[in-house]
């Protein structure tokens, strides 16, 4: 074992700091022996060391601090008074503690430091018998650690065993591993063991017997842990980061100017400046990064305890614990991640009996994975449990009144799963004290979204569930879309942005409709409430040509379209905080400096959504089938019916709006006025031949017709196609908005271009009164609800 546990290292650094404080406090205490504050502070310090040493199985250290703590407790509670003797023994105790820490630091064991003398002296003072220890004894254990006194046998054994395990070769440790908070401040690594070689499948907390090499390390200048890392104020790092950012901008200007002057020394110098600035930037960024392991280290224990409470056997696999994340983000991810892990053990994994019955190993497997992907850190929590049953989720959502049955029917399986993120949702049959109080996933989502991240869930019934968090690498730099409104520029974080829609004057006039004064745009059939940025900000839009640009945004599970004047570009922006006065405005989350040095405000999409959307508008926004999707990265899967209409053309029809498929004999078609109809279930069903509706030529000359039937309210229409080709789950993102009469656009499905039918206009072509009579309520909603 050539590892020195990180926990021990942290303990040492912390304890050294604490001891320095302790020395000052003890001396101050002599001046004012009755100061409760000082005593309490000393007590806390010793108590902390005692607690940790017990946890790390440093028995000697624990026994010293234990008696010390007793003494301090009595002093603190006023049961004993401070005397020079007590100060002496307390100082002696502190010195012994220091010595033990030095021994631990040297080789990971408590070495042969003897504590019995000090323990005896403290005990004597405690019991009030030895008023003054001989002066010698005060010094002895301190200055002469080799003093040969009997050591408790089991401690000696322990120490021996540990020493035997020490390795041959010292391995220089990466700075980050040694002192993750401040790697850049330290010039050279101390020759203590690396921590990065740990097996990824460790399921128990690291034990503490790991030791630094004894032989090889001695010759080199060995740095005391407390000296090889320093604590730095995060504010200082932030200001360094800011200066570096500025340096980078200045560098850009210089490199540009040097480039214009072609050749010469300036060019070379500019190149070097370029390199150095880049490295400096990376270095400073790194100072704020910490490995995922900081969060995960506690989880094995959590999982173990939880497993035994729930009567489940769980093994925990962790991959990518070295993945680094900005310190502040790491903190924010802690609670959501713990919650997901608890959820997985409590609800995700089945009991051993159930698992046996399902033919799985009794021991459930929980897998944590962290990795970088596309400028984000992805953290997965996966279990191999029972999975989430979409039907149960749906039933629960209806029962809780979160969605209507009609809305549920229109949703795909994947969308149903997303319902677990709704506030007030919990599928746990029984509320346990571990989880299941209904304040679960929505809080997780809110917390993750607050730091610009996203969460998605995947589940296979009987096979398990995977929750995936996507977290930006750092809060300080985010990808954003810059837009213009009334001549001012604003940044919109990409994480909130779903897509952009540009409408020319004609289309804008026709397609931006309104629901009782609230403007909406029909985005692939769903009503998208529109918010005009200029109006929200009380400025004058300078767009007068009638074009409408819509940024489709998503926040807190709601979608809306933000109408802006112009789209400028996408870029990585450095977020600068705003003063509280500006935050109070409620529309901006920060500011940033654009490439040309101008300041742009960052729009706070969450609060725009909250403030600008009336409840009514939100209702419309959330009735659509895609509106509960949580992330831009989740593929928006929509089931599509693919039909051929002749001439090799294929048309996609959202399956959610298909009632049924029918075949009728060609001979049963009758004509009423100018329309074709068939008798269908005792009523008259108007037909629309899709080929002629879309300007194609049917190639079907069979004896029957393939019909796609829609029903809503009491009315039905049938769309006649050549043939039903397939049903696919379409990724709606790959859609082009090139459209034509009767179409919403086109998309690629299995390498073929497929036209997406504008179902509403097709239905209206067959029956102009369809939506008028179908329902008194919002016609489109009625159609969706009645569709299945």
């Amino acid at each position: 074992m050539d590892e020195m546990d990180e926990i021990v290292q942290e303990f040492l650094v912390e304890s050294h700091e604490n001891l320095d404080q302790l020395d000052r406090d003890l001396v101050a205490l002599e001046q004012q022996p009755d100061s409760r504050d000082l005593l309490a502070s000393i007590f806390r310090t010793i108590h902390t060391i005692k607690g940790t040493s017990g946890f790390l199985a440093f028995g000697q250290l624990e026994s010293v601090t234990h008696v010390g703590e007793n003494l301090l407790a009595r002093l603190r509670d006023g049961k004993m008074r401070m005397t020079p003797e007590t100060t002496d023994v307390l100082l002696a105790m502190v010195d012994t503690v220091r010595e033990l820490l030095a021994a631990i630091e040297a080789d990971g064991t408590e070495g042969d430091v003897d504590v019995t003398a000090v323990v005896a002296r403290v005990t004597a003072v405690l019991e009030g018998r030895a008023p003054a220890a001989p002066a010698e004894a005060v010094v002895d254990p301190v200055l002469d650690p080799a003093v040969d006194l009997p050591v408790a046998p089991q401690v000696a054994d322990e120490a021996d065993a540990t020493v035997d395990e020490t390795p041959d070769e010292p391995e220089p440790v990466a700075l980050e591993d040694l002192a993750p908070e401040l790697p850049a401040a330290v010039p050279a690594p101390a020759p203590v063991a690396a921590t990065e070689t740990r097996e990824p499948d460790t399921t128990e907390p690291e034990t503490t017997e790991a030791a630094a090499p004894q032989d090889g390390g001695e010759g080199k200048a060995k740095r005391n842990l407390a000296e090889s890392s320093i604590r730095v104020d995060v504010d200082l790092l932030d200001s360094l980061m800011r200066l570096v950012g500025e340096l980078v901008l200045t560098r850009n200007q210089i490199v540009r100017q040097a480039g214009e002057q072609a050749g010469g020394e300036l060019n070379g110098a500019a190149q070097r400046l370029n390199l150095i600035a880049t490295e400096l930037q990376e270095g400073v960024m790194k100072t704020r990064m910490q490995p995922m392991d900081h969060l995960w280290a506690k989880l094995p224990r959590v999982v173990r305890d939880l497993g035994s409470i729930c009567g489940k056997k769980v093994s925990l696999d962790m991959f990518g614990r070295e993945t680094e994340l900005d310190r502040s983000l790491l903190e924010s991810v802690k609670d959501p991640l713990t919650h997901l892990v608890r959820n997985a053990v409590d609800h995700g994994l089945e009991s051993p009996e159930q698992r046996r019955a399902a033919g799985k190993p009794e021991e459930g497997l929980l897998t944590l994975r962290a990795y970088h992907e596309g400028g984000q850190v992805v953290v997965e929590v996966a279990d191999d449990g029972a999975g989430i049953d979409p039907a149960r989720v749906a039933a629960k959502a209806v029962e809780r009144g979160l969605r209507t049955q009609g809305q549920i029917d229109a949703m795909s399986q994947a969308d149903l799963l997303q319902l677990i993120f709704l506030p007030g949702f919990s599928t746990a049959a029984a509320v346990t004290n571990v989880s299941g109080r209904g304040v679960g996933m929505d809080v997780v989502r809110t917390n993750i979204e607050a730091i610009g991240g996203t969460i998605e869930v995947e589940s296979v019934l009987g096979r398990g569930t995977t929750c995936r968090l996507r977290i930006p690498l750092t809060l300080a730099i985010v990808p954003a879309l810059t837009v213009e409104c009334s001549g001012d520029r604003y940044a919109i974080p990409q994480v909130s942005l779903l897509e952009l829609v540009a409408l020319d004057a004609d289309r804008a006039a026709a397609e931006v409709e309104d629901v009782n004064g609230a403007p909406v745009y029909r985005l692939r059939g769903d009503l998208l409430p529109l918010v005009n940025l200029a109006e929200v900000l009380h400025v004058e839009s300078d767009r007068s040509d009638g074009h409408v640009l819509i940024a489709v945004l998503q926040a807190e599970g709601r979608r809306f379209g933000l109408v802006i004047d112009r789209v400028l570009s996408t870029e990585e922006i450095v977020v600068k905080p705003l003063t509280t006065r500006l935050k109070a405005v409620g529309a901006f989350s920060g500011a940033t400096i654009l490439g040309d040095g101008r300041v742009a405000l960052i729009l706070d999409v969450q609060s725009l959504a909250r403030n600008a959307l009336s409840q009514e508008a939100l209702e419309h926004g959330s009735t659509g089938r895609e509106s509960v999707l949580d992330t831009t990265d989740a593929a928006e899967q929509v089931s599509m019916l693919i039909a051929g209409i002749g001439g090799g053309r294929r048309v996609a029809i959202p399956l959610s709006s298909v009632t049924r498929l029918e075949q009728v004999p060609t001979s049963s078609v009758e004509v009423v006025g100018s329309r074709e109809v068939v008798q269908y279930r005792g009523s008259i069903l108007p037909l629309l031949r899709l080929d002629s509706h879309l300007g194609a030529m049917s190639e079907r000359h069979g004896e029957d017709l393939a019909m796609v039937v829609y029903s809503a309210g009491g009315r039905s229409v049938a769309i006649v196609v050549d043939e039903i080709v397939d049903i696919v789950d379409e990724d709606t993102r790959s859609r082009s908005d090139i459209d034509d009469h009767g179409l919403l656009g086109s998309t690629l499905i299995r390498d073929r271009i497929v036209e997406v039918l504008d179902v509403r206009s097709a239905i209206l072509a067959a029956d102009p009164r369809f939506f008028v009579d179908a329902d008194e309520a919002d016609p489109y909603e009625a159609q969706l609800e009645g569709a299945l």
Binding site: R242, D488, V539, T579, L582, F588, A591, V599, L601
Partner: protein, 154 residues
């Protein structure tokens, strides 16, 4: 009210002070030289929609985003007309944070003594009553002592 002002004034009239002066609508104002970080001109300002009128925008000072305060607005003076030209910016530190004050022209650094100080007249009213601690009687003009912290707290 007048007693409060007198106390505040007393604190600042002890001994000599060194003030950076600037003008606003024809009057001369001064702030402690210690509070002033630097003086700038010709900075692009980004306006802040929905913000109170005293907040005149955001500027980029070497990578730091600063709030600009329109002192004319704060003091209840008429808005700057086109002839006044581009305003100058006095960057002051208030509670550790830099804030930029918009002024008409920048003056000089002036040493003043306690003997020249007098609290504001009782007839002074309106928003400036809150922001002006008093006046130093210089030759031929009055130097108004601006309470930077209040002026910046728009």
């Amino acid at each position: 009210m007048s007693t409060t002002v007198a106390t505040v004034a007393a604190d600042h009239s002890v001994g000599h002070r060194r003030l950076v002066t600037f003008t606003l609508h024809g009057s001369t104002y001064g702030v402690s030289v210690e509070a002033v970080q630097e003086v700038l001109r010709g900075q692009m300002r980004t306006r802040i929609p929905l913000a109170p009128p005293g907040l005149a925008g955001l500027i980029n000072l070497r990578g730091q985003v600063l709030t600009a305060i329109d002192l004319r607005e704060q003091l209840g003076l008429p808005a700057r007309d086109a002839e006044a030209g581009e305003p100058m910016l006095v960057v002051v530190r208030v509670a550790g944070e830099p804030v930029a004050l918009l002024v008409d022209t920048i003056g000089a650094v002036v040493d003043v003594g306690a003997g020249q100080f007098e609290p504001p007249p009782d007839t002074l009213s309106g928003p400036s009553r809150e922001l002006i601690r008093g006046a130093y009687k210089l030759e031929g003009e009055l130097l108004l002592d601006l309470d930077v912290e209040r002026a910046a707290a728009a």
